[in-house]
């Protein structure tokens, strides 16, 4: 399989220069390296510019509703553990309307990779505050500046107990591709925050150009990615320092949700062809 095999005919309607172009390229490449056939991949997203991404791949895509990619992805993975399941969306999709689903997906630990394209803005709706917009930012919905502190996706998921947490930027597409590949290969829930600039409504001072200049590889900081508290401390710099690479990777990932389910099926001696037996429970002996 090659990257191009994962590229669909649909022409992206993203603005010229949108960071998401680089993200989908990185995903093509990660898929190719892993080599699962497109029809064995389920790619789920919410709603947003970024959430259009499944349509630009040849996988089974599901562009669902705003904020619900994770519950739907879990339903797919739980009922079809054989599939490679990817979820993706924007910062608003994942940490505003969808924020309530993240901790629960993480504590269940299904083998799903969740990619957030974090542009610190609402792109599709034309430039309102997103939960990751810095305090004071003036946008279409906050002309006098935001009065709220931003959320910290990296710190949140670490607190939720995520077993794989990483960050990347399309400014380093190959680097992003290998991060995503590692996330997909990780046996369990993996979270990748991608700093993916919005050229149209995003902050001019946070575009790919600056990313190139400012990004800092975690490997080069001597960070021990097996130390959750250390990762949490670094994560505090979210919004200030653009770290790329793996913040945390659980040395022993533990069982996935679907593995626990499989064990239960064994314990219950599950068999699909005994279904009608269930009625015997009501029999009046």
């Amino acid at each position: 399989m090659q990257a191009k095999d994962y590229k669909s005919e649909l022409k992206p309607i993203w603005c010229p220069g949108c960071g998401d172009y680089g993200v989908v390229q990185a995903i093509y490449r990660a898929f190719a390296n892993i080599g699962r056939a497109p029809h064995e991949i389920a790619f789920v997203s919410g709603i947003g510019c970024s959430s259009r991404i499944p349509g630009y791949t040849t996988t089974y895509g599901f562009n669902t509703v705003h904020g619900r990619a994770l519950p739907i992805a879990q339903g797919i993975k739980l009922s079809r553990p054989d599939l490679l399941v990817l979820a993706a969306g924007g910062d608003g999709d994942g940490f505003s309307i969808g924020g309530g689903h993240v901790p629960h997906a993480i504590r269940r630990n299904p083998d799903i990779t969740y990619i957030v394209m974090d542009n610190h803005i609402y792109g599709l709706t034309k430039g309102q505050l997103s939960p990751t917009s810095p305090r004071g930012l003036a946008t279409a919905s906050s002309v006098y500046g935001s009065l709220e502190d931003p959320v910290n996706p990296l710190l949140y998921v670490l607190a939720y107990g995520a077993r794989f947490v990483a960050q990347g930027t399309p400014a380093d597409m190959p680097g992003l591709a290998s991060i995503i590949e590692e996330a997909i290969r990780f046996p369990g829930f993996a979270f990748v925050n991608v700093q993916s600039p919005c050229v149209t409504y995003g902050q001019p001072e946070a575009q790919l150009k600056q990313h190139k200049a400012e990004m800092r590889a975690l490997t080069s900081c001597g960070h021990d990615s097996s130390n959750r508290l250390a990762a949490m401390e670094l994560a505090q710099d979210y919004g200030k320092v653009l770290y790329t690479g793996v913040f945390y990777r659980d040395p022993d990932p533990g069982p996935t949700f679907e593995q626990a389910v499989a064990e239960r099926h064994v314990a219950q001696r599950a068999s699909a062809d005994q279904r009608t037996r269930v009625l015997d429970l009501f029999a009046v002996a």
Binding site: Y60, T64, P71, I72, G75, I76, S79, S271, A272, V284
Partner: protein
């Protein structure tokens, strides 16, 4: 001796018993013992339970109707009423109606006067004080055995065969110490002995359900929620995503015990949106999926159900209705979520809505819900209610082999060669692929799409897709199973009722018949899309009638007006939840309609009615 069961004196074909007491009195387990015993003897029976708002320690009660013939509702006046204490008994008001024929049994440790005086001017046929608590303490050493004493009294006074009741006791206390069991057996005997020594004036005996020696017909005993869950498993459902809510939670409980054994998965999600979402995901992945909830949860699932409609994904969503609006009255049954079931989605959506009428048809209706979901690639609302969900019925054995199980139409290898997920077909149904099928890859979306699933904002495509999604359901309006009709097809008086009220209406029809009223009953199982032909046939002979429902707005009546021409003589008889209908009052209204028709000048009616 079993003999006592068949003594000659005033044998009755059926008996309705109501009992109330405080939490801890074991009122409900007494009811369970009685219906189990009745089932073992081959009786038809329905048991409903009702509680106060407290989680624990609050008042509780049951109604049990036992009969030698099929029964459709536990509603109506009580033949026997048992009050362990007056306050708790009276709290249930109309749920435990005492009439002139009722034998009212109370615990003699409380004076009769104060309680009886509050029976809203109704004098029971006979009032019997029995030392229930006293016997329990004396014989078993504590109040906990009061319910067992009552079982003894009932066995003796009303001719319940003791053996199955004793067997039930042994089951119930199997886990407890031998001593506890013996205490209760003694309490049971004490009750019987007391009754023997204190015969009641208007003694009645329940006629046997079978001849001596003849073995009882094989039956099942289940409540509506259990039956719904079991039917889902039989229908091939392997994924359930839900969130607890009264009175639907028992569906998840049952599946949480049983689904795993059949290779399925049960997810208690973080909320109703996620529960429905996970089910939508499972359906996209090719599995039959279900979610279940009640009013407030339905309100939260609105968006996800709309997604399933436009993405054309099969899904069964159960709503066990309770009193609304909002949190409303969680422990009371109502039929006020019909409008929502039909119309909650934004955009032009038609979504099938099915309603079972009791435990007896819950299995078939649930299987049908899955079949329709799969056949038409659509979410289906199974509109149950708290009354059905929580009541136990003795029902005939079910032969699963007698039911067809429908699976979604998947694309053939040839069709996969040039596949379009949302291809415009004659039926409007397009073969549906699932991950893992090479060549079936497509983009599912809540966004309007073209035949290939690609986003489209073109007007022509949108109009065609709307038309496709709606037209594909047309066959349902002509479905034979959409409604059942009971009574003379040519009757001029008509009754329409759905859900748990249908059984009451069916009883009412029998009573009306006894009054010489010439009426028939239509019970819709498919509430939406409205099966117009079935109603047109039904109304053809109708001059007057009632549409009876447990909602203050008369939602079915309004819904029917949208699509059917209702004869002017047919009016809405609607009432808020927790205000139960009785067969008698409905029968009286029908009789009233019959008299009006006779007074009216239309000649053929003079003929029709008499």
């Amino acid at each position: 001796p079993a003999g006592t069961a068949f003594a000659p004196c005033r044998a009755m074909r059926e008996l309705t018993i109501g009992m109330a007491g405080a939490g801890g009195d074991g009122v409900v387990s007494a009811g369970e013992s009685l219906i189990t015993a009745a089932a073992l003897e081959g009786y038809h029976a329905i048991l409903t339970k009702s509680f106060g708002p407290q989680i624990r320690g609050g008042e509780s009660s049951f109604r049990l109707r036992i009969s030698t013939a099929p029964v459709y509702t536990p509603a109506g006046m009580l033949d026997v009423a048992i009050a362990l204490n007056w306050d708790d008994f009276l709290r249930f008001g109309a749920e435990l109606p005492v009439g002139g024929q009722t034998i009212l049994i109370y615990d003699a440790q409380h004076a009769a006067g104060p309680g009886v005086s509050q029976l809203a001017g109704m004098t029971p046929g006979e009032i019997v004080g029995a030392p229930i608590a006293a016997l329990a303490r004396e014989i078993a050493g504590h109040d906990g055995a009061k319910n067992t004493v009552v079982l003894g009294l009932l066995a003796e006074w009303f001719g319940f065969v003791p053996d199955p009741l004793l067997a039930g006791l042994r089951k119930r206390f199997a886990k407890k110490s031998q001593e506890v069991l013996e205490r209760n057996e003694r309490a049971f005997d004490a009750g019987r002995r007391y009754a023997e020594q204190h015969p009641i004036a208007s003694a009645r005996r329940l006629a046997p359900a079978r001849l001596p020696g003849e073995s009882a017909r094989p039956t099942l005993l289940a409540d509506g929620n259990e039956m719904c869950a079991a039917a889902a498993i039989v229908a091939g459902c392997t994924f359930f995503g839900g969130y607890p809510i009264t009175p639907s939670t028992e569906i998840m409980h049952f599946l949480g015990r049983e689904m795993w054994k059949h290779g399925g998965v049960v997810l208690q999600a973080e909320d109703e949106i996620a529960g429905a979402g996970a089910a939508v995901g499972a359906s996209f992945a090719g599995k039959k999926a279900m979610t279940a909830t009640s009013g407030p949860g339905m309100s939260l699932k609105t968006e996800m159900l709309g997604l399933a409609s436009i993405a054309e994904l099969p899904l069964v969503c159960v709503n066990v209705q309770r009193g609304g609006p909002s949190t409303g009255m969680p422990t009371k049954s109502e039929q006020s979520d019909l409008f929502q079931a039909v119309f909650s989605a934004h955009g032009d959506v038609v979504r099938p809505v099915l309603a079972p009428t009791g435990v007896a048809d819950m299995f078939a209706t649930t299987v049908e819900a899955f079949n329709i979901a799969e056949q038409y690639q659509t979410p289906v609302i199974l509109l149950s209610d708290g009354e059905i969900g929580l009541r136990k019925e003795v029902v005939d054995r079910i032969d699963p082999a007698a039911f067809t199980i429908v699976d979604r139409r998947r694309p053939s290898p040839r069709e996969l060669e040039s596949y379009a997920r949302y291809a415009f077909t004659e039926s409007g149904i397009s073969p549906i692929s699932e991950p893992g099928m090479a060549g079936g890859n497509y983009l599912a979306a809540g966004i309007e799409h073209n035949e290939h699933g690609a986003p489209s904002s073109g007007g022509a495509n949108h109009a065609r897709m709307n038309e496709k999604r709606i037209r594909k359901l047309d066959p349902l309006t002509r479905w034979r199973g959409a409604a059942t009709v009971v009574g003379d097809p040519d009757a001029p008086i008509g009754l329409i009722a759905w859900g748990s009220v249908a059984g009451i209406a069916r009883d009412a029809l029998q009573r009306a018949d006894a009054l010489g009223v010439h009426a028939k009953l239509l019970v819709p199982i498919l509430l939406y899309p409205v099966a117009q032909p079935a109603y047109d046939d039904f109304f053809a002979s109708i001059r007057a009638g009632l549409i009876v429902e447990q909602s203050s707005q008369g939602q079915l009546y309004r819904l029917l007006r949208m699509f059917v021409t209702i004869p002017s003589g047919v009016t809405s008889f609607a009432r808020s939840g927790a205000n139960p209908f009785t067969p008698a009052e409905i029968a009286e209204r029908l009789a009233g309609l019959a008299q009006q028709l006779q007074r009216s000048r239309v000649p053929e009616l003079q003929v029709a009615v008499d």
